[in-house]
């Protein structure tokens, strides 16, 4: 294991109905600067495409980012499709952004339901990047040690 290059293989993606991409461009740069390798799937990613991409890349981590208010709805659906694949059942998958249409209202309940649906962590807008970085550090330690 120690011979492997440091850093995680990460898939960064939007969701099927979300056309925003600055969040994806930014996350890619953040992850690359931390030494991770990124496949950026881009905007409006249909569920099947995301599943195929993840099956093909076998990433250490999938970062789902959504800011159009449909993140909770679309995110709940796609995690089921990802977890249904044996190769992705244990892959770390996180989701973040603006996940509902009403701002931060209901964020805690949304997060609980998203975790129950299969996400490893939820970073609703406002929790900041620090929590995401901490998660990455822990994941890296867990995956690589």
């Amino acid at each position: 294991m120690s011979e492997r290059t440091p850093g995680l293989d990460v898939v960064v993606t939007s969701l099927a109905s979300d056309a925003h991409t600055w969040n994806l461009v930014y996350l890619q740069l953040v992850l690359e600067e931390l030494g991770h390798r990124v496949v950026n799937v881009g905007a409006c990613v249909p569920d099947e495409l995301l599943v195929d991409e993840c099956v093909q890349c076998a990433p250490d981590l999938v970062v789902v980012s959504s800011v159009n208010g449909h993140g909770f709805h679309d995110g709940t659906r796609v995690i089921a499709a990802l977890r249904a694949r044996p190769g992705l059942a244990a892959t770390a998958v996180v989701i973040g952004g603006k996940l509902g249409t009403g701002g931060v209202d209901g964020a805690r309940e949304r997060a609980a339901r998203l975790v129950a649906a299969g996400y490893d962590a939820v970073f609703e807008d406002g929790t900041g990047l620090a929590a995401f970085r901490t998660f990455l550090t822990q994941l890296q330690a867990g995956v690589r040690v």
């Binding site: 930014y26 449909h70 709805h73 603006k98």
Partner: protein, 430 residues
Amino acid sequence: MNGFGRFVAEADGLVVQPRMGFGSPELMRRGLAAVRDSGTLAVGTITLDSYTRVGSHDVARAALAAGDDLNGYPIVAHPVDTTLAVVDGIAGAGFPVQVRHGSALPQDIVAASIAAGLYATEGGPLSYCLPYSRVPVREAVRAWRESCRLLARLRETGAEPHLESFGGCMLGQLCPPSLLVAISVLEGLFFQRHGVRSVSLSYAQQTNADQDAEAVHALATLAGQHLTGHDWHIVIYTYMGVFPRTPHGASALLAEAARLAARTGAARLIVKTVAEAHRIPTIEENVAALRTAADSATSTTYEPSTQDTGILAEARALVDAVLALDDALDTALVTAVELGFLDVPYCLHPDNPGRTRTFVDHDGRLRWSRLGALPLRGIADTGGDHDVTAAGLLRALSHVERRFDDAAIEQDLHALHLDRPCEPTSERNA
């Protein structure tokens, strides 16, 4: 009949328009009525939800059935009678309503709009393809050609359908003015070549008001040279990037967009609200934004010209290079993207070459740092090699937000100090 272009042309002052859409027909109707009755020179908007934008009408129907919130009005999922009832007695010659959607493949949206008597919409084969979809440019061009023809056919009934190019936005930020102007002109020309005579060209407020004013004049110059007839106008979009979070900052940015429209003689302005940074705005917030914009425009004087830093020359070079690729504009647009003659900075679309880069300079102006294969060698200056870091990107993306929020916080702090002169400065964090 929905004479959108005529209404704008005959308006005595800047026409203001919200971005507003609700899943609920009742709320949508109430919103349209509130805009009509806002006391401003307004046109109405039905903004569609993002399931409809990507053609997932079944998902939109399921969401409606489940009572889930949608981020806009699902015009295809709702029966046509529902939409007819939404606009009945509201939309008309005195209050035209435009459908705004964001779809690269809009035929079903255009058909549903036409069925509901709504003959004005917006988008374009590049502007709704590259930033917002994964659809190949070639397919989007074909889809928009078909959509233009659906609209153009209405002219046989005496109606004058209207199409607005969204080309002045392109990811909302960090796309230099010349490329925005060029894409707007090319899309307006595309609409006209496919039979839609009444068109508008857009320009989204960027990082520097003087640079924006120069760009809008360049847009008007090129439109005058390339478009046929007189039924065209320019629409300004209030800032489409990361928006100020403070109410004062958001209002000040909106006011600056209204001044941009007024000083350049643009005919129409699409507003943003104080809720923009936080959530989908309410009807009341939209109406307040229309009034703020109208007030700012009224107190601004038209300026017939601006300084020339080369935006017109750049935009003209881009337009001319694309038009020279093929007599058929459809083919020229596809080839232009393939060759990188049109290459939108930071755009992740699979067809976009992605070799251009930009930055915000010390004066707050948007500049090229890498030209890729754009036909701008010897025409555009590049500001050296700015390698983009995550922090640098965030700084550039939040440049406008910070400028307006900082000013708003200073203002509030000042007011606070006048009220209570002994308060410590740590109030800033309160």
